[in-house]
Structures are given as C-alpha cells and as structure tokens.
Subunit: 412 residues, 2 copies
C-alpha cells in the first residue's frame, strides 16, 4: 500500500499541472477502451459473478455487480459527459491589488490524492476515477472484494486511457488485493492520501469514521424532514410531502419525518395519510397525529432518530415553527431539510436558522442530488461542516491556494 501511496503522490504532482486537453483526452480514450475491451471486461466480471453466486450473494447485489452491455454503455456515456464538463482547476478568484502594489488571488487547484472506498458496484470504479481525474487528482480505488476481478480489468482500461493521453498510468490505481488490511492502511496514510470518499452503507461509513486519520468527505445519515407550516398551501404541501417520501425510498434525501403545524394538521393529514397508506407506506405518529390518522402506529424516539430508507414515515404535529425547528435541531442528521410555507418571513427564518447542508423552501427533500443542483455530476453528498457540503461535484474535489505576485515589495 505504501508503494501505491508513493506512486499516487508522484502522479499527483504531474496531474496538478495537466491541461484539460490531456485530461479530457484520457477520459475519451477510456470510453473508447470500454467498448474495445468489452469481451475481456465481461469475462473478468463473469468470474466475479460465479464466485458471488457460489457464496450466495443476494439477487440485488448480483445485479449491481453485473457489467451488462447496458451498464458498460452507461459508464462510457458518463466518461464522455465528464470529459465535456468545464475544468475547475486553474481559475483565479478574489483577486485584489494590495496597497503596496502586490496582487493577491486564490487559484483553484486539485486536492492531491483521493482514496475511494466502496462496495461491490464496479461502475463506481469508472465514475469516481473520471471525476477525480477531471479535477486533476490522483486516485486510489478500493472496491468490494466481490468485484475484484472486474475492478482490476476496469483499472487496465483506465490505464490505457491515461497512457493514450500521455498522463502517468499511476494517476489512477486499483487496489488489487482482497486483503482487508488494505482499507486500514488507506485511511491512515496521511502522508500519501489527502482525502477519502467512502461510498457505501452506514456500516462502512461508521467503521471508517471511527478509525480514519485521513479526512473523509461523507455523510452518515439522511434523516430528512419536511415541515408543513401554518401558512402552507395545503395542496402544494400534499404534493411536496408525497414526492419527498415516495420518489425513491432508498435515496438519502428521502423524507423520514413529516412535521405538521397544529393549525393545518386536521386539513392536511387525513388525505395525505390516506395517500401514503394507499401507496404502501407505514405511518408512525405522535399522539395528536394518531387522533387524525387511525392507521398510524405510535412513534417513539427511535422513530424520530431513524433513517428508514424504506416505506415507513414518522409524523409529528407541532405547536409552532419554533417547535419544528427544535425537533429538527435535535434529530436532523444535517443532510436536507424543507419547509412548505407561503409566508416570506417564515421561509427566510427557516432557511437562515436550520443547520443542515441543504435547506429548502417548497421543495421535496429528494432533490438532494448533484445533477439537480446543476453540478453536472456528483461524487457523493457531504454533511461535514468543513470543505464541501451537500452534493459534491468537481469543485468539491478541488481546493485553492493563494497566489501572490509582486515586483520585489518588502515587508516591514
């Protein structure tokens, strides 16, 4: 692993100065190689699938593991799309001329070396490598052991693209050992890795968070709330809340708790509750909710703290905006929070005072996604306070350095 780290650090120096022309050419060459090497990729993938079947991996995971023609086409299209995005590196901002005549500015630069730790989705190998490469970083990829052969084969495709564009082949390295210690090394190699982006379930993120010395760009939970205010348009509230829950149960921006102001609970909840029940969503409610929704089971503190990621919803009737914001402050995971209201002052207060990486007005929480925000692509979502927050695109994989230019000015 130390060799991988040293290689990556060296490659990172070259990548920092690489032109967008070279980086985009590498990405397009990779897309081409994905087509040309299809037979070899699918053969490697079949080996993984056979082992996985023999180990009794469940159908959904087998599906994610499979490099079908369609999956490979999607990956190639993703590469072409990322190649066409504007390069964030090198732009200057906050430039000022100081009183002594020297110029001060901030230049956007790559983070350096990024580690990606993920589970058994081989498409992440290509997607993550592409985003890191476009933003000028060197990358070390460590996927799940179930996808090892597939990832090694995809790594060869990536190297082919890098070499075709005259970039160092160690700019993207795939860890080719199933050894579990590899992860332990990656997350503590602070000299060689600048940031880790973990992609996977809560268990993985928790384990990495507890042990990492390298900073992580991550979110643990998406315990997202929609608060329907006393001044909400109730028809809009119904649509927003329903979409926030049912767009997809498994996305981290899915609503997990609905908060409703007491003044509108009796008008909103019976119809909305029925719609959820008809859609197969189980409801858990506070006492006041259960007076209006007989089908709701009693909600406990465990419900307020749960990211169900499934067809279950907690519902609470609150006295006021303040009580809604107190509930959110106590239970929110800082991911995405939304208010439905027509009143300007209430919207402004909620947006100002709620502490989360994304705060919405009159929108379902399921909009939490880099494409929806206009970032073009997304490496993940962060609930960190430092550095990138919310959906993280290319710019979140960069940082800045100060560049000063003078003509021999002296200090003191």
């Amino acid at each position: 692993m130390l060799t991988l780290g040293r290689n990556a650090r060296q490659a990172s120096r070259v990548m920092m100065g690489a032109t967008d022309q070279a980086k985009s050419a590498a990405l397009r060459a990779m897309a081409q190689a994905l087509q040309d090497r299809r037979a070899a990729l699918q053969a490697a993938n079949r080996a993984d699938l056979e082992t996985a079947r023999a180990n009794g991996l469940e159908a959904a995971l087998l599906d994610r593991l499979t490099l079908s023609d369609k999956a490979l086409d999607t990956m190639a299209a993703g590469l072409a799309q990322i190649a066409a995005m504007p390069d964030p590196v090198g732009s200057l901002s906050n430039s000022s001329l100081r009183p002594n005549g020297m110029r001060v500015a901030q230049m956007r630069v790559p983070l350096g070396v990024i580690g990606i730790i993920y589970e058994s989705r081989p498409n992440v190998t290509i997607d993550a490598a592409a985003l890191c490469l476009k933003s000028g970083n060197a990358t070390i990829l460590r996927g799940g052991k179930e996808a090892l052969q597939s990832n090694v084969a995809l790594g060869a495709v990536v190297r082919e693209g890098l070499l075709a564009a005259g970039l160092p082949e160690t700019a993207v390295q795939v860890v080719d050992t199933p050894d579990r210690d590899a992860v332990g090394h990656l997350i503590t190699m602070t000299d060689y890795i600048d940031v880790i982006v973990p992609r996977g379930g809560k268990g993985l993120i928790q384990r990495l968070s507890a042990q990492a010395r390298v900073p992580l760009i991550k979110h643990l939970d998406g315990n997202c709330h929609v608060y329907v205010d006393a001044d909400a348009d109730l028809e809009k509230a119904h649509r927003v809340a329903f979409n926030a829950k049912t767009y997809r149960y498994g996305v981290c921006g899915a609503m997990e708790t609905l908060l409703v102001h007491q003044d509108v609970a009796a008008s909103l909840l019976p119809g909305l509750g029925q719609a959820f029940t008809d859609h197969g969503v189980t409801l858990r409610g506070c006492e006041r909710t259960r007076l209006l929704l007989r089908q709701a089971e009693p909600a406990t503190d465990e419900d307020w703290g749960s990211e169900y990621l499934g067809p279950v919803l907690a519902v609470r009737v609150v006295d006021s905006l303040e009580q809604a914001m107190d509930h959110i402050a106590r239970w929110s995971s800082g991911h995405t929070e939304s208010i439905v209201t027509e009143k300007l002052g209430t919207a402004r207060r909620f947006q100002r005072e709620v502490d989360a990486s994304s705060v919405y007005v009159n929108l379902p929480t399921c909009f939490a996604d880099g494409y929806e925000y206009g970032l073009g692509a997304e490496i993940g979502i962060s609930t960190n306070r430092l550095h990138a927050r919310g959906p993280v695109g290319l710019e979140g994989l960069t940082t800045y350095k100060w560049v000063l230019e003078g003509d021999g000015q002296l200090r003191g």
Copy 2:
C-alpha cells in the same frame, strides 16, 4: 466539559441567526469593559505572574503573559476593528435558476462551535473570541494554565459584552480548570465541537494532531523556500531573500532554505551571503554553495527539513527550475514558497506546479499574514488541504449551506 459542549451547541443555534448589529455591539461593549475592568483584570493577571515567577518561567514568557496597559489597549483596539469588519454570514453566491424553475444558491453560514487551544498569551482569549463571535460561532477557549486567572477575568469581560448585546453568555466560554484532561476532551467531543484552532508551538500541534477526532485548522511547520531563478533580477533577488529571512526570524513565513540557480549563484551568493553573515545569520550550504561561501557549514538532510525559526539559513545551488521544484516538493511543509524571476513562463509554471498554501512571485515569504493579504484579521495559518488554506480570516471560520427555493416542483 460535556456541559460546556452542550451550552456551546445551544448558544451556537442562537449565534447562527444573530444580526451583525448585535454581534458588533457585543464586541464594542467588550472593548468598553476591558477599559472599565482594568483594575480587576490586572489584579488577576498579577496572581498569574506571581505563580509563574515562583515557577521560574522565563522572561520572554512572562512578558507575553503580562496584561500591561498597552496590551489591554491593543486588545480593545482589536475588538473595535473586528466590530467594524463586514460580516461574512448570510451572503448568497453561485445562485442559479434550474431548468424546472427552482433557485439554487449557497449561503455563507458560521461553522458552529469552535474550540481554541492555546498557550500562555491572554490576548488570544480576546482576539480569538472576537473573530469567532463576529463570524457567528460559539467558542470554547482553553489557554495555558499559567494564564488561568487572567483568562477567567477576561472571560467575565466577554460575558459582560455578550449580555449587553442580548446574546447568550455561553456563546464564549473559558475553560476554568487547569486539568490537562480538558484538552483531551475538547479534541474528541465531535458531537459538540466542529473545529479546533490550535495556537502554539509545534509540540502542541503535533500532540493535538495525533489525538484529535475533531478537525483542526492548523499548520505544523513553515519550512519556506525562496528560489532565485536563472532569469532573476539579482538586485531584487538580494532584497527579497534578505527580507524573507531577516524581517523576523520567528514568524512561520520566514525563509528557511534559499535555492539558487547555478547560472546566477556566483553573481548572487557572495554578496548576499556576506549580508547574512554581517546580520548574524549562520549559513549552511551544499557543496557548490560552500565553494562560493566559505563561511557556510555543510548542510545535511536535517537542514533541508528544518524550520529553524532563528538566524540560520540553508542554501542550495540547483541545476534548474525542475530541480528547485523537486527540492520543494520533497522538503516543503506546504506553507509558503516563492520564486524570484523576470520570466513570465517560469513564474507561471512555478505558481501552477508548486503545491503549497501560498505561492509567490518576486515577494519574500514573510508576507504570509492575514493583514497583508487583506483579510483584516487572522485566526491562524492553515496548511490543510481541505477547507481554509493559508492565512485564515473571518471567512475561514464560516462554511456554506445550499439553499433551494421552489414553488412545489417535484422530482421524477
């Protein structure tokens, strides 16, 4: 410590929504209280000084510990200055209207709760509290035990200012126990503290870095280089290099190694070396340097890696720009690096490819300072890659959240 943490988190919620009017009023009230409570402050300080003298603290440290009339005046002036600075919180940027009509923007917001861990300079208590407060954060301050009485008395002044402005008095809390475990708690209370800014020597920073679970905004070393290129104006190079070393030996931006291109070494070094020697700077050189500077002792790898923070300078003659950049890549601490050259392409390449938080052209490295960069004030200098880099001002104590506003748009 948990109580302090919980108080801070609660106060932070109020501070996030506080107006600049209130925050600035608190800072001005503190400046007034510093004048009004001068007798009590100096009495508490005398108690610290007596203990320190009894414990044989050295003169330089006693000097830093003393709350003289002048020191208190400087602190009050600093408060007034920070009060007058523009509030970074609440500004909106990168606002765009998405194809579906929803508005996406980033709102600048406070980081949350900031811990400051520092040594025995009581002025840090006021300076750090003021910067954190102005940027809307709650703060927990832990100074050196030698300054405990002084810091507790200053904490009372800060509380007086907060209360006068109607802000929660727990927005700034001074740890009032000399218990060393307090620091261990602070740096691991990830639920209650969002970031720690350590202010002190390398030993303190190293200890905290090894044990912290809370992210640190910090730099460990300032091993800064000036590279004099083949195309340098040698008169300018002489002035820049001399200033970079001698402006102040003890600042983290002081030059520690001078790199000189072989084509200009014979013209530059004898005169510049003599100037350093006359100024009392000891020189350590590579072999080629020592042919030109007989007074230089041989330099070892230890010299290339040293932040002397004193009147010692390492000097190396290099073959080329590439060799200079390789030397910097190997030995730099990522703080501040400078090139002296008149050639545009060389300057551009150095600025683009050298990986440090600040990269200069034709300027001495000792400009590394928030005031010089136009930040108005500085909480410290960061060599981190994530979040704030280089001199960290008010904006570095904030982050952003995404704010989205719609009219019931749905996803999918």
